[in-house]
Amino acid sequence: MSAAGLLVRDLTREYATRGEPLRVLRGVSFSVEPGRSLAIMGPSGCGKSTLLHIVGTLAAPTSGSVRIAGGDPFVLAESDLARFRNATIGFVFQEHYLLPQCTALENVLIPTLAQRASSAHDAEVRARALLARVGLAERADHFPAELSGGERQRVAIARALINAPTLLLADEPTGNLDEEFASEIAALLIGAARDAGAVLLIVTHSRALAALCDAVCELRRGRLTEPGQRAGA
């Protein structure tokens, strides 16, 4: 296992509630090599989104460690962590979270706003290329309200890719889409990750989608089953 990938060890996470603490993750360990993809499945409420948010550094684990490209992001100060996330992680959520006030192109560019020294022109060239790649070159100047659900999700994928992340996280990216679109989106994601040599983590309920990934594992009672290698991978 190279230091460049994603390494998760003994991750636990509890939620404080009004009553007893809720133990969602009870020791999750796994690793993914660069350029590989892992699908995580599991029943609703088992903690998939929680795991993804922790790996994406949006939330902190109760215990355990996460190493991304060899480093522990949680030792970073808040703003350093944000910069790290900006440079290394791309998110695709079940909901697209596009800003309604911005055009498709601008939405793709949102992550570049966080960088101080980036050239606006270069970023725009990249964004247009990404939009072309997700098949929306013509719709760059349209507002989210003028796009269909699938188109919005494709904009969201372009947005996740704009900073060329080494870790791509997708939480039920195709939840709202029909089968045909779903596989199209999934292919897009997996292809992009593979091309960029990035780690791709997809949470999904869709076996068809999971089947497209390099490996699949299941979260049950707070633990992860061994990744089942896809045949031929």
Binding site: A59, E78, I89, Y97, P111, N163
Partner: protein, 1133 residues
């Protein structure tokens, strides 16, 4: 894309949300700048009024005596650019010759062309010698127009004080019948006044020479109007340098004696036109003589009605109406008899001794008049032992011992004497006429100065009020000519005698008018103070609206954070946006502020005219105010925005992404911590409230009022924190209709912060409205009680011309009241007469800050009677506690004089409290400190300060007579008594007012102030209502899904609205209840201690109205939000 693009896009996309927030900022800025503009406008208007009233004058010399107009020319010649004009300024009454219209407090300005030019009166309207020009204010009172005849009543200042024995009391009032030649507008010279107030004076302008002729005082004036002299100090110096002894009312007359055959002794006598040398002159003259090395001898000369042998039969010989001199024996003045004259012994001249057949060692007695304050003439008899009999020659034949008195000195015969007291001409025989013929005013009897002063000028009986000497004789040193000594003495005397000491007061009228305009009654300050509530409300509303907009966009923030935007950057983006919105709102608030200030001033000119009593308020837009106000408003708006961003604090990106309300993500520990903090704050606030309340018991004045408000504020905090705790608790849901309401209540807990913000907004505004409303009051029936604001006096009378007799005594009534049908009724009505020293009206009726408040002298009888209600006193002994008025008789080691003032006057106008000192100048120009030892509460005495008559007479001896009367008439006959008194004292310009009306006239001002401030609270409530509407709208939009679900489950639209409305009802009613309760608690002690009638009914009505309006707004908002088909929300969700 740049961050700027994102901000601009967001501003545009969320335009409606932002518009609401901008409106909040706009209101805040408008309220802040508007308050400043109103304050500046009031001050600037007063300043303009003050300057206009002064007609360009800068200084004035005013005097209680008349002096020679020559002084004006002498002064003007001292400086190249100085303009000085003399005038006679008198107060009096006016009456229309044709009708019954009367007017008191009329300013009569008699002046010549130079004065008219100085104040800018066009020459075509200057008064001719046989007419008067009046101003519109007087014309309105008299219903007079050009061509009408009017009667003016004045009492010109007496030369000899009318309350001294030799003063004239019989004809102080002159009635002038004049034809009005023009009516001047109440602007420019028509409103001329040296002590400006916001109301134009009622003035009549007359020709000076004509008035001087009519009052037989040619060339005499009492006022100099000055322009072009750099400072009051310089003018004072010039006056000091220009004044002659005559200008001080003094003369130095040379006399000669023949102490021995062929020898002459020359001396000069310093005398006063007042007959008695004022104490200040005595001091200065003795000091001047000492400095100049001039020998002196003091003299007090009096008139004895009778000199006779002690114990003689009534028909035995006696000498009527003789001059008696008390003389200080001092070399080189030749002694009247050899040796010192012991106390109680007398020297007779041989003429008198012969008439009485008296020899040395015989007992004689002298009888003379004493004049009590109050005009009562008393006869006193004193025994003396004849020490010697001297021939009517040498030092005993000295007419110079007797000052000249017009009406006696110039009488050819004794029976032609015209003294101001009764004499029995039958007692004057031919011997007496012979003596008069041969020796005139040569004294017949001599006593020592000490004996004389003990008889006629005893300090303890108030007999020394006008002075203790009639002359000071000065002589030359050996070998020196008298003229040289006199010249030296005169020079030194003038150096020792500043103009003030004999009543020539220099006043920097322009400077004091401007200072007065700045101080105002602090309407401006109070207005700005109360506006703070409105500004705070606007800030709260802004926080609420900004928060709503941030909460609406929490997912957006979540996304920005998820893609790695540093939180600082994300916050800055939102802040920039909020700031832009706040800036736009604030800038738009500037024109709104001008409009708001204009409206407020229009209100003050019309609706709330009572507060300022003038229609001369204009809008003064000051760039500095606007700049400062806008910057301050921007700062407040930015702070509000920053504070609203706290909503994002410590919220995880996941929560933000999931759009979870912050309140719902709190765990047990956080909830416990919140409850703990709340509890802590509750204890702190509660302690603060208790501290402030107990502190208010110990203090008085503005501090006390401030502490009450602070206590109220702290109480409000306690109540709101309690409410916050209660609403956060979860209640079980009962079924049925009550359940729906409960569901609404629980929703309130869901967006707890927002609920509490709205509730606080409403609570603050309610607090203000109720607290101010509870302070509003009417004079209740208890004001008429003896321990009420009127002291039990149903009527209050003021006279334009002071009464020289005390109407509380039978003798005084005999002099004052004509015999007639009303006499019996008048005699049975108890009257208390107070002396009044004119000064600034110290009540709220005067917008200008009083610099020298008017002062009343309280007679001993009123002190003994007591009464009136006190807010606080300095009473320490049980006697003082039982009757605080006795405090006026107490003394202070540092010479301060105890004084009372009304609470309102002392606290709000003089900005003092119990124990505070007001410094005024006495008649000799010295500073007198009046120390406040009692605060009357809601009394008739709001325009003046009160001191004891005894102190009044010692410090203000030159102030003649009584001009304020308290009449203890039974309520039933008060009306009749008022009429009788006005008739009886008509020639004095007596104006009788029911005491309750007087109190009410003060209350009108106070209540109008309160109306204005209550209106600010009302605006705050309006903001609270708007906030509620915004919250309801937002809540409904946020929860469309849930509400749709309720609809899907079969709830009717009305049911759904009920859920929404019960939540807003909680905010509105909770806010109203907290605010009202805190206000009532905070004002309760005040209401109880001041026995005020609090208008509970109208307050409750107001609260009901507010609740209805708030619920109405919530209903409208809910209806608007629920109008779209609810079930569609389910599909799009």
């Amino acid at each position: 894309m740049r961050r700027r693009t994102l901000i601009l896009r967001s501003v545009r996309y969320y335009a409606r949300t932002h518009a609401a927030a901008a409106a909040g900022a706009l209101v805040g800025c408008a309220a802040l700048c508007g308050a400043l503009l109103v304050g500046t406008s009031v001050s600037a208007s007063l300043r303009a009024v003050a300057l206009e009233r002064l007609c360009g004058l800068e200084h004035a010399v005013e005097s209680s005596r008349l002096f020679d107009a020559r002084l004006a020319r002498d002064l003007a010649a001292r400086w190249p650019n100085a303009e000085v004009a003399a005038a006679l300024l008198l107060r009096g009454g006016a009456q229309s010759a044709a009708g019954p219209q009367r007017s008191g407090k009329v300013q009569i300005v008699a002046a010549g062309a130079d004065f008219w030019r100085l104040v800018g009166l066009p020459s075509e309207v200057t008064p001719p010698s046989d007419g008067a020009v009046i101003n519109q204010a007087l014309a309105d009172e008299l219903h007079a127009a050009a061509g009408d005849e009017i009667l003016l009543r004045v009492a010109p200042p007496a030369v000899i004080p009318s309350e001294s024995l030799m003063g004239r009391r019989d004809a102080p009032i002159q009635t002038l019948r004049v034809r009005v030649t023009a009516v001047l507008p109440d602007r420019g010279p028509g409103a001329f006044e040296l002590s400006p107030s916001q109301r134009p004076p009622r003035s009549a302008f007359l020709d000076l020479a004509e008035i001087q002729r009519r009052i037989r005082r040619p060339d005499q004036v009492n006022t100099l109007a000055v322009r072009g002299v750099a400072s009051a100090e310089e003018l004072r110096g010039g006056l000091h340098a220009c004044a002659t002894p005559a200008d001080h009312g003094l003369r130095i007359a040379p006399h000669a004696l023949a102490p021995a055959e062929g020898a002459t002794f020359e001396y000069a006598a310093l005398e006063s036109e007042q007959m008695v040398l004022p104490a200040a002159v005595e001091r200065a003259a003795l000091e001047a003589a000492r400095q100049a090395g001039v020998p002196t001898s003091r003299v007090l000369t009096y008139l004895a009605n009778t000199i006779r042998r002690a114990g003689a039969a009534p028909d035995a010989a006696s000498v009527p109406y003789s001059i008696v001199s008390a003389v200080e024996t001092a070399p080189p003045f030749p002694p009247i008899a050899p040796g010192e004259l012991p106390i109680g012994q007398a020297v007779l001249n041989d003429w008198t001794a012969e008439r009485l057949a008296a020899r040395p060692g015989d007992a004689i007695e002298i009888t003379y008049y004493m004049l009590d304050p109050g005009g009562r003439l008393r006869t006193e008899t004193r025994a003396l032992i004849v020490a010697a009999v001297v021939p009517l020659s040498a030092a005993a034949a000295d007419r110079g011992l007797t000052p000249a008195y017009p009406g006696i000195n110039d009488a050819r015969r004794m029976s032609d004497w015209d003294p101001p007291f009764p004499i029995d001409y039958r007692r004057i025989g031919s011997d007496d006429e012979e003596y008069w013929d041969a020796h005139g005013t040569t004294p017949k009897l001599f006593i020592s100065l000490q004996t004389g002063q003990a008889f006629w000028a005893a300090e303890e009986h108030g007999a020394a009020r006008f002075g203790r000497l009639t002359s000071i004789r000065i002589a030359a040193r050996a070998g020196e000519a008298l003229a040289a000594a006199v010249a030296r003495f005169e020079k030194q005397l003038l150096a020792e005698l500043p103009a003030e000491s004999t009543g020539l007061l220099v006043r920097p009228v322009r400077e004091s008018a401007l200072a007065g305009a700045r101080g105002a009654t602090d309407f401006a300050g109070l207005f700005i103070g109360f506006s703070m509530f409105l500004i705070a409300s606007a800030a709260l509303l802004l926080v609420l609206l900004q928060r709503l907009s941030i909460e609406q966009r929490s997912r957006e923030v979540g996304l920005l954070l998820a893609v790695g935007t540093p939180p600082r950057v994300a916050r800055r983006l939102l802040l920039a946006e909020g700031a832009a919105v706040a800036a736009v709102g604030s800038l738009l608030g500037v024109p709104a502020a001008v409009g708001y200030a204009w409206l407020m001033l229009a209100g003050l000119r019309t609706l709330w005219r009572g507060a300022v009593g003038t229609s001369r308020l204009g809008l003064h837009v000051s760039a500095a105010d606007l700049a400062f106000g806008t910057v301050a408003a921007l700062a407040v708006a930015l702070l509000a925005t920053l504070w609203s961003l706290r909503a994002l604090r410590a919220r995880s990106t996941s929560d933000l992404l999931a759009g979870r309300a912050p309140e719902t993500t709190l765990d047990r520990h956080q909830l416990a911590a919140r409850a703990y903090r709340r509890g802590l704050w509750r204890i702190v606030s509660g302690a603060a409230a208790i501290a402030a309340l107990s502190g208010s018991m110990l203090t008085d004045g503005a501090t006390r009022a401030g502490l009450f408000f602070a206590a109220g504020g702290a109480l409000l905090a306690v109540l709101l924190l309690t409410l916050a705790g209660r609403t956060q608790q979860r209640s079980t849901l009962p079924s049925g209709r009550g359940g729906l309401t409960r569901l609404g209540f629980r929703n309130a807990a869901r967006r707890h912060d927002r609920t509490m913000l709205t509730t606080s907004l409403i609570a603050c505004a309610t607090f203000l409205v109720v607290a101010v409303g509870a302070s509003r009051h009417q004079p209740g029936a208890d004001a008429l009680r003896r321990d009420g604001g009127t002291g039990g006096f149903a009527l209050l009378a003021e006279t334009d011309v002071p009464l020289l007799y005390d109407p509380s005594t039978p003798e005084g009534r005999d002099e004052l009241f004509p015999s007639g049908p009303d006499r019996a009724a008048l005699d049975s009505t108890p009257i208390y007469a107070l002396r009044r020293r004119p000064g600034d009206d110290a009540s709220c009726l005067n917008l200008f800050r009083p610099t020298a408040p008017a002062i009343l002298g309280v007679p001993p009888a009123l002190i003994a009677r007591g009464g009136f209600s006190f807010a606080a006193t300095r009473a320490t002994t049980p006697g003082q506690r039982a009757n605080p008025w006795t405090l006026l008789d107490s003394t202070f080691a540092d010479g301060a004089i105890p004084a009372f003032g009304d609470y309102n006057t002392v606290v709000w106008l003089l900005h003092l409290g119990l124990g505070g000192d007001v410094t005024v100048r006495d008649d000799a120009g010295r500073e007198v400190r009046l120390r406040i030892v009692g605060l009357l509460s809601g009394s008739i005495f709001q325009s003046e300060l009160l001191v004891s008559e005894r102190n009044f007479l010692t410090r203000f001896p030159q102030q003649p007579g009584y001009s304020v009367l308290l009449i203890d008439a039974p309520a039933a006959t008060a009306g009749a008594a008022a009429g009788q008194l006005e008739n009886a004292l008509g020639s004095y310009g007596c104006d009788v007012t029911p005491s309750l009306d007087r109190i009410a006239s003060y209350l009108v001002v106070e209540n109008t102030y309160l109306s204005t401030f209550q209106m600010l609270g009302g605006l705050g409530l309006l903001l609270g209502t708007l906030g509620t509407a915004a919250v309801v709208l937002r809540n409904v939009l946020e929860r469309r899904g849930e509400l749709a679900l309720l609809a899907a489950c079969g709830y009717t639209r009305a049911d759904v609205r009920r859920v929404v409305l019960s939540e807003s009802a909680l905010m509105i009613v909770g806010g109203l209840a907290c605010g009202a309760l805190a206000a009532v608690l905070a004002t309760l002690p005040n209401a109880i201690s001041n026995a005020r009638h609090v208008p509970w009914a109208s307050l409750l009505g107001l609260l009901a109205l507010v609740a209805a309006a708030g619920l109405g707004a919530a209903w409208a908002a809910a209806s608007a939000a629920l109008r779209a088909p609810l079930l569609s929300a389910l599909r799009t969700n």
